[in-house]
């Protein structure tokens, strides 16, 4: 048919896999930063800010990532804003991840016992001091396992960037398949690569969760 799978094809797939990792990193950093603001917004003392953050979360969680990708690539292009596939994919992932991480982290902030807030208030700490010095350090410990777990979702969801022409792992597989017509072999390879990226992350998440439960005394 279209020749046999050779080392060049594998290198091309490897290149795609690197972009999958790269886009995941962009999504984590971008979505993490924006998501942190969303989480703070969700627990803000201001009703308006809380409402704004909640609306954002509802809106994005109720929209398929695929549609966000289409909107930011084709939609903006139709409005005369031509952005590159990388920018469209990076922005879409950031928007998407922020809504989920923001909600996960809000849960972690709220999981810190109310009494910790009260103790900090009783010591005359300001709201930002209470947040930064008392609540967030405890929330971060709670947040680590679910955040690492969510990274699995991020890695898998980057495959949707293939629809805007961003050549990550899935898209590079499609391109090779277009010339080789060996979908079973090629997509099996791709599945194995995704699995080997995601499995260590989910194992790590499990381990973090267990060690958080054990609460080993930190010896000084």
């Amino acid at each position: 048919m279209g020749g046999a799978l050779n080392i060049n094809h594998l290198l091309f797939l490897g290149h795609g896999a690197l972009w999958t990792i790269g886009l995941s990193a962009i999504a984590l950093v971008g979505g993490g930063s924006f998501g942190f603001l969303i989480a703070l917004g969700r627990v803000s003392p201001s009703r308006a800010v809380r409402l704004l953050a909640a609306t954002y979360v509802q809106l994005i969680q109720g929209t398929p990532l695929l549609v966000i990708m289409f909107l930011s690539f084709f939609g903006l292009a139709a409005l005369g804003l031509n952005i590159s596939p990388l920018l469209a994919a990076g922005a879409s992932m950031t928007i998407f991840v922020a809504a989920y991480l923001g909600e996960i982290w809000r849960g972690c902030i709220e999981a810190v016992p109310k009494q910790q807030w009260e103790a900090a208030e009783g010591l005359a700490l300001s709201r930002s001091q209470r947040m930064v010095k008392v609540i967030l350090p405890q929330a971060i410990r709670l947040a680590t396992p679910p955040t690492v777990g969510f990274m699995v979702q991020i890695v898998k969801n980057t495959s949707l960037a293939s629809v805007v022409g961003f050549v990550e792992l899935t898209r590079s597989g499609q391109i090779i398949n277009n010339s080789l017509f060996e979908p079973f072999i090629i997509y099996s390879i791709i599945a194995v690569v995704y699995f080997s990226l995601c499995y260590p992350l989910s194992r790590l998440s499990r381990r973090l969760e267990r060690s958080a439960l054990q609460k080993k005394p930190a010896l000084a």
């Binding site: 910790q116 208030e121 009783g122 005359a124 010095k133 405890q138 005394p217």
Partner: protein
Amino acid sequence: MNAHVNPPSVPPNAPVVALRNVHKSFGSLKVLDGVSFTVGRGEVTVLIGRSGSGKSTALRCIDRFETIDGGEIEVCGRRVDDAGLDVRALRQDVGIVFQSYNLFPHLTIEENITLAPHAVKKVPKAEARALAAKVLAQVGLEEKLHAYPEQLSGGQQQRAAIARSLAMQPKVMLFDEVTSALDPELTGEVLKVIEALAAEGMTMVLVTHEMSFARGIADQVVFMHKGKVHEAGPAGILSSPSTPELAQFVGTGF
């Protein structure tokens, strides 16, 4: 912020804490129904009463953890019921210790203690550490400076929490059932610390169920019943109550 509204200078004979006809409801439930009492400088006031009698709520109102619906609360010359109150200034004057200790688990005992003096009062780090050593010695925990809260027993954690409050050098200390989560042996070590504070002349308001402790330490006992001060007086009222409700509460009967 509101220094002109809440003058920090107080006439020498003014009470440190004064509640005047305080009313407070949670929804339709009336928890404080015209509560009044005053606490003078260096005095120890013990609030007693059944669960739900309003004693913990009254205590929490003093530190503005609850806002009130009517009446007046004055603490260290500040009107606590004033909507424009500088709450952080109030809380620098008032130390509060809770039933569940509430030490910060991610910080060492030393860091727990130095946090507020450094962050709020801008005490330099080295000075704050010296202060931590001093207050820990006061509660007999000088060797636990670098331990984490979870490495301490309940009694030690509560003593560390008291030390943390003391480091802010409050003018009045509030204790909200601080021994209720402890077994009798550990209760004793915490009560000893509180007795030592009383002996040093600290102004204190305590909510407690330890009647013999209350009898020994109180300058004033306030018995609360159904949101009202039902009976108040010197510690002697615990031995010779004049209302049947207090008599029943302390278990002497009629």
